[in-house]
């Protein structure tokens, strides 16, 4: 027997290729996987949340109150008129069981209104000052009530919470950031609703508008008012235009309203009702202020 030791063979038991290529593939694959998981969970949560009984949403919403008490007599009158309109329109909608609509009024120049958890909606002075008729105001109101009826705030919360939970499994800070954005800004102010949700809310609002006024002229007035907004306010980085920015293009909404009216045999135009007194008084004050 001839005994000898040879040098260990190189490149059989271990490869000496650059590990960065493998690293890049693994990171890309993991991120794609994570993205798919987050998207799937977000979609599932968005689907499930509005199907949970409303009382759970109400219990959650009781922890915060985005509807401030009016500070002046004037604001109190405006708020009461908004609430009366909301109640009148809500009677024509099948709101979820147990939901009571509460309207808040904020004396801020933002051209916006939003719907949030717990059947609450908030209107800003900036928006009221740009409306000419009750019909137009009713279109905004019906649109926000439609969001509430369709449980869009719950869907948005469900999606946000699910994404936050998934991300917190990866990084506590990431999860906290997601939850924070949701808990602070998201819950109280603006949920980002999808275009699809906005279209659904528009459709429901048109139905209510037609039932209440016999025509959908208010919708056309409202979209005209948005189209007349100065370009500066239509810019994406100006928060003043949130209501328009997250919504379908104004021209499309007008077209959709006209089309809906045609399909349902409802008049596009008709006699407008004047704004309630206190709301009508907002406009001159706003013009004096600016």
């Amino acid at each position: 027997m001839r005994l000898e030791n040879r040098r260990p063979a190189e490149g059989i038991n271990a490869s000496h290729e650059n590990p960065l290529a493998e690293f890049a593939w693994l990171v890309a694959g993991s991120l794609a996987l994570l993205g798919a998981v987050v998207a799937a969970i977000a979609l599932a949560a968005e689907w499930i949340a509005p199907r949970l009984p409303y009382r759970y949403e109400a219990r959650l919403a009781a922890r915060f109150d985005p509807v401030p008490a009016p500070k002046s007599d004037e604001a109190r009158r405006v708020q009461a008129e908004l609430q009366a309109l909301a109640d009148r329109l809500a009677a024509r909608m099948a709101l979820p069981e147990g939901m009571t609509v509460r309207v808040g009024y904020r004396e801020e120049g933002i051209v916006n209104a939003y719907a949030t958890l717990g059947g609450r909606t908030v209107f800003f002075r900036g928006l009221l000052s740009r409306l000419d008729s009750e019909d137009a105001l009713a279109m905004v109101m019906a649109h926000e009530l439609a969001h509430l009826k369709l449980r869009h705030p719950a869907a948005a919360l469900g999606r946000g919470a699910a994404v936050g939970i998934v991300l917190s499994a990866i990084s506590a800070d990431l999860g906290r950031a997601a939850a924070g954005a949701l808990g602070q800004a998201g819950l109280v102010t603006l949920f980002a609703f999808s275009r699809e949700q906005e279209r659904a809310a528009d459709a429901e609002a048109l139905r209510v508008l037609a039932a209440e006024y016999g025509h959908v002229g208010g919708a056309i007035d409202l979209f005209d008012a948005f189209a007349r907004l100065p370009a500066a306010q239509r810019d994406d980085h100006v928060p003043a235009i949130e209501f328009v920015r997250t919504h379908p293009l104004t021209a499309h909404r007008v077209a959709a309203a006209v089309e809906w009216a045609g399909a349902n045999g409802v008049a596009v135009d008709g006699a407008r009702r004047p704004l309630p007194a206190a709301i009508a008084a907002v406009r001159p004050r706003e013009e004096r202020a600016s």
Binding site: M1, L3, E4, N5, R7, P8, N13, A14, S15, H16, E17, P19, L20, E22, F23, L26, V27, G29, S30, L33, S171, D173, L174, R176, A177
Partner: protein, 154 residues
Amino acid sequence: MDAFVELAILVALLATGFFVGSAIERRHYASIRAREARYADVLAFGFRFPADRVTPQRAFLVTGTVVVSADYFKSFVAGLRNLFGGRLRAYETLLERARREALLRLKEDARRRGARMVVCVRFETTSITAGWAPSIEVFAYGTALIPERADRAA
């Protein structure tokens, strides 16, 4: 903000692991190859008994042991690899280095004690993982043989 700090720390750890870890690995391989040439005269085998069973031999245990740790980059890549499966290249080089190093230390032990032949060489591995970077011990041992009479040496 915190998430950015976290990400920056992760990137720093990965970069340190990659650059320092690669440099250390390159140097280690160079050293292993040089010493393998130097210890080529000490023969190590896996068979249980000496090939030459006629010559009286002095026999004793020789050992070589080494403890190595993965770097952050290697553990990170291995962690991702655990998601998908497949060849764990990052650890293959680590373990190969450890085994070759352990065998070299065994040969050094043998030569210092005058032996040129080690039989029944075996390897043992112990994981001493603590925290995020796995560490392992590779232990090589065998029976060193020295022929009693020089003229009958194998």
